[in-house]
């Protein structure tokens, strides 16, 4: 059947010399979305590379995989300047209190990515020396499987974390 114009709603058209709001440089959004966008677009990881996963984490900053296009470029050595902690590698019993202390020193809001099998669950080391998963010590947002996970896996986790942050409410800022 032919498409007829009856019942169609007349949309306001942009006349000559007029511009849409977006063209004029105005967008409407909510404060929540803006704050969360700011947070996830510049997630700075705290340096917490422990073992082999740290090598793949450093490889994710390579020219080939390039983590900085996702905003997570600068690895801050001081946890006070970081908002994400990537626990990359196996956490031994001696290292566990240090991990907790570094996590406590990070300011809110903070997120934790547990990279690799050893950080997520103890990995292949079910023995006296390794903590069976860092979620026994710190709350974890994203788990990455793999031994070690490919750098693309880490990038996927950062993207998922960004989506998760976009969906969160910035409670701590607005009280």
């Amino acid at each position: 059947m032919a498409v007829s114009d009856e019942g169609a709603i007349a949309l306001p058209r942009v006349g000559a010399g007029e511009r849409t709001a977006v063209q004029a440089g105005v967008i409407t959004t909510t404060i929540e979305k803006v704050i969360q966008w700011g947070r996830y677009s510049s997630l700075w990881p705290a340096l917490f590379g422990l073992a082999c996963c740290a090598i793949e984490m450093m490889a994710a900053t390579n020219p080939r995989y390039d983590q900085s296009r996702f905003g997570a470029e600068v690895f801050r050595a001081s946890p006070r300047q970081a908002d994400m902690m990537i626990v990359a590698g196996r956490v031994s019993q001696k290292m566990a209190p240090v991990l907790r202390q570094i996590y406590d020193q990070m300011p809110e809001p903070k997120w934790v990515i547990s990279m690799g099998a050893c950080a997520s669950s103890g990995g292949m080391f079910n023995n006296y020396a390794i903590v069976q998963g860092v979620d026994k010590i710190v709350p974890v947002d994203i788990y990455i499987p793999g031994c070690p996970p490919r750098p693309e896996g880490l990038l996927d986790a950062i993207v998922k974390l960004q989506k998760k942050i976009a969906g969160e409410r910035p409670g701590s800022l607005l009280g």
Binding site: Y128, A129, I130
Partner: protein, 181 residues
């Protein structure tokens, strides 16, 4: 035969120190008495025909079933001679009640950490060491992990055949995997 040079040197110069000597797989092993250990290593390091200057490692092998016929621990030392391109293995046997060996840290500087690691993981003390503290485990750890009677345990992995052991009643799934068919 690797280690033949060291064995011959010890037989010649310190025959009382050598308890026995055996070879297998192309390597010669010499059993030394505990009291003459420092003397033997100093000889091997300084003698013109030896020059075993590089300490490779110190470790102990735990044979708990050998008691009481033979001592429990075999403390193994290996020294390398760069000059003669050779290495030698010395074994000192110590019992469970008295697991000490004299320290070699004044003979080789690297023995400092190697003996601390041996004390940490196996409980074999080096007498005369200036600071025998744990090296790899936390300072207040209990037990010596590499001994055969130390149960190394992380957490139970729940399979269907050990589910009563691995998970408490409240956490068990109502239908075990594999049972639903």
């Amino acid at each position: 035969m690797i280690g033949r040079r060291a064995a011959d040197l010890l037989q010649r110069e310190l025959p009382g120190a050598v308890l026995r000597s055996a070879d297998a797989y192309g390597e010669q092993t010499v059993w030394i008495s505990r009291e003459r250990l420092v003397e033997a290593c100093t000889l091997l390091r300084d003698h013109e025909e030896g020059r075993y200057t590089v300490p490779q490692f110190v470790t102990a092998v735990d044979w708990p079933d050998r008691e009481p016929e033979e001592p429990r621990f075999d403390v193994v030392y290996q020294l390398r001679s760069l000059h003669y391109n050779d290495w030698c293995r010395l074994i000192v046997q110590v019992t469970e009640d008295d697991p000490t060996v004299p320290t070699l840290e004044r003979v080789f500087a690297g023995m400092d950490w190697l003996e601390r690691e041996m004390w940490d993981l196996l409980g074999v003390k080096a007498e005369g060491h200036h600071d025998l503290q744990r090296l790899l485990m936390p300072v207040d750890w209990d037990g010596h992990p590499l001994r055969k009677d130390y149960v190394s345990f992380g957490e139970p992995v729940a399979f269907t055949h050990n589910i009563e052991w691995a998970l408490p009643e409240a956490e068990r799934p109502p239908i075990l995997p594999g049972e639903s068919r």
